[in-house]
């Protein structure tokens, strides 16, 4: 058991921290209030390779590991939850499935520009009638000659209109499983600009307001036959595998939000004076900080352990990391909500004002308990592994 970070990881953390403080933090409040996608930040993320961290160099990436990627999302989220999720959705939900399940041609065509950040990625699974229950899929894909024809829509898609490449799931038929007729789901790669692929309204959200969350609409959208990702009918497995990895990214985002709120609050309680002394001098404050710091550290260990487990999978192609990822996400998300809420409380009235970062962090934290599998879904995943 070695909990110390390598030199590489220490340096990478410092890099992400400097970048976040200098490039991301100054925009955090503005993009939140204006509900504006931070394109300028994405360009910088691309320039420095932050959009291809766990991708091999041969595929245009940085050749680093999942832990480094998780640390990147953590540090970005410490100052801006929006920026954290942009990187997470791109890397975990779009680059990762193409890298894992794509053909060599697909990897060259899509992973290389995505990892270099020349293109941004998104992932479309959720539909109005298919959230937690992916079997509720309505979007259909029908093979017509050399093309798949897509019809249907996807909702709550992070990076929506801003993404150039989307991994989309659709029903391609029906199969009998254990005597029941089940939908056969397949995964596809769809490029922005394909005729028949349009965007619905942009969602007006509680938090992560700078991220572009859109409805994706497919109306007789024809894509080449070669854009089927993985084997036909393997879409559900691809989606589940992808979400296992995505949960590490979201867990890292939640961890970052909690850690960032805690750091901000520690500085605040040292400065803020009430009854003639700093509020950090009160035992109530001290004990709350102690509890929060302990939970943040516990969340960090779970997140890093899950990242390490996925690194092992990247090496051997078989190690499991789904339960680790579920635990990390469940715990980190709940810690994020609890810590940001308490941090608002410690800020008093100021915590409720938009000029104070903890107000935004608390709103941003809530989504981490919901997307890429609600906390309830994580409990299902974890308990299923216990009772199998």
């Amino acid at each position: 058991m070695d909990f110390s970070l390598s030199k590489e990881h220490e340096m990478a953390r410092q890099l992400f921290k400097d970048f976040a403080e200098t490039e991301v933090k100054p925009l955090a409040q503005e993009i939140d209030q204006e509900h504006r996608f931070p394109r300028e930040t994405v360009d910088k993320l691309a320039k420095y390779g932050f959009l291809g961290i766990p991708v091999p160099k041969e595929l245009g990436g940085q050749g680093c590991d999942v832990l480094t990627y998780a640390m990147c999302v953590e540090e970005l989220s410490k100052v801006c939850g929006t920026t954290g999720v942009i990187v997470s959705a791109h890397t975990s939900l779009c680059v990762d499935p193409i890298m894992t399940f794509g053909t060599d041609e697909q990897k060259q065509k899509y992973v290389v520009p995505l990892a270099k950040g020349e293109k941004l990625g998104a992932f479309g699974l959720t539909e109005p009638g298919a959230g937690t229950d992916a079997q509720g899929q309505q979007t259909k894909a029908v093979l017509d000659g050399d093309e798949w024809v897509l019809n249907g829509s996807k909702c709550f898609i992070t990076n929506g209109k801003e993404a150039d490449v989307d991994v989309i799931f659709a029903v391609t038929g029906k199969v009998e499983k254990l005597g029941k007729m089940m939908k056969e789901i397949s995964a596809f790669i769809v490029e922005k600009g394909t005729p028949g692929f349009t965007f619905g309204t942009k969602e007006n959200k509680m938090g992560i307001c700078g991220s572009a969350t859109y409805e994706l609409i497919f109306t007789d959208c024809r894509i080449p036959k070669d854009n089927l990702l993985g084997k036909q009918g393997k879409g559900f497995n691809i989606a589940m595998h992808t979400l296992d990895g995505g949960r590490i990214g979201i867990a890292a985002q939640a961890l970052g939000l909690a850690a960032g709120a805690l750091e901000t609050t520690i500085n605040y309680v040292k400065e803020r004076k009430q009854f003639g002394r700093s509020i950090g001098a009160f035992q109530n404050t001290q004990f709350q900080l102690a509890d929060m710091a302990t939970k943040v550290e516990a969340a960090r260990l779970l997140v890093y352990k899950a990242a390490r487990a996925k690194d092992q999978f990247q090496k051997d192609g078989k190690s499991a990391y789904g339960v680790e990822a579920a635990m990390a996400k469940l715990y980190a998300a709940e810690v994020a909500m609890e810590v940001t809420t308490k941090c608002v409380q410690l800020h008093g009235g100021y915590g409720y004002i938009k000029e104070y970062d903890v107000e935004r962090m608390m709103r941003d934290a809530k989504i981490t308990e919901i997307y890429e599998g609600t906390s309830e879904v994580q409990r299902m995943v974890i308990s299923a592994s216990l009772l199998k």
Partner: protein, 261 residues
């Protein structure tokens, strides 16, 4: 084209300052960063690499821990790194530092040497020009812009109230201002490579044409007589007036009392 950039690991002055009992700085007790002017110099060199394929070598003198800034430079894109470290080099002032670095630079091929104008710990701005003097090459300090054309460099040299466009034939030494550019970040992949990269380490024996008497504490003509935290002027009177009128009355009263008005 070969460019050598001299960089220094410095304590981050934001983190507070600590001393050894002998009055020298206790660098180990402070956070360490790459000196900002040096980083601008490195960025200038890396741009020459981007433009002309220049080979960029970074060199530093310090404790073994100073290899951290070399790895940072490699992660930003430098090609080679040299650490000059030896017990006998400790406690050097700018003279002894510049003789040491000149001794190391004599082992390297260079067309251009870039140093930062000054380090944020000492703020002396001396080591760059002194290295040039020891090597017998021209120095252009306070560079705001650097352009290379064949075997010549053109530098925008800043003065208090003007600048000179100066042209010189390489080899030469330029000291960079942090205003020169915005240094790039490292890349994550660059960090992973840098941590595996080999760093050349030189000691006293590797320095060329340098006498022992010009090295380290003993080879330093300047000696610290006293070093201390700065004692600040104490706070005067502070007023929290209820109205702007009260505030103005206080100020005008004081100005009259002191015969300013």
């Amino acid at each position: 084209m070969k460019v050598v950039v001299c960089i220094k690991q410095v304590p981050d002055t934001k983190g507070g300052v600590k001393f050894n009992p002998d009055g020298t700085l206790d660098r180990g007790a402070m956070l360490a960063i790459m000196n900002p002017d040096d980083k601008a110099g490195l960025e200038a060199a890396l741009r020459l690499k981007d433009q002309y394929g220049a080979e960029v070598t970074v060199i530093t003198m310090g404790l073994p821990k100073a290899s951290d800034v070399l790895r940072e430079a490699l992660a930003m894109g430098a090609d080679k790194a040299v650490l000059v470290t030896d017990r006998v080099l400790g406690g050097a002032d700018t003279w002894a530092t510049s003789t040491t670095l000149a001794g190391a630079l004599r082992n390297l091929e260079y067309d251009l040497i870039i140093t930062g104008r000054q380090a944020i710990d000492g703020d002396t701005a001396q080591v760059g020009p002194q290295i040039a003097e020891h090597l017998g090459i021209p120095v252009i300090s306070y560079a705001q812009e650097i352009k290379v054309d064949g075997d010549k460099v053109t530098v925008k040299r800043q003065y208090d109230d003007r600048y000179h466009m100066v042209e010189v034939k390489m080899p030469c030494l330029i000291t960079a201002l942090s205003e020169l550019n915005d240094p790039r970040y490292m890349t994550p992949g660059g960090i992973f490579d840098a941590c595996q990269a080999e760093i050349t380490t030189w000691g006293r024996a590797d320095l060329k044409d340098v006498e022992d008497g010009n090295l380290g504490l003993n080879g330093s003509p300047t000696k610290i007589a006293k070093a201390s935290d700065k004692v600040r002027k104490g706070a005067g009177e502070k007023f929290v007036p209820d109205t702007p009128e009260d505030a103005v009355n206080i100020i005008v009263g004081k100005l009259k009392e002191k015969h300013v008005i």
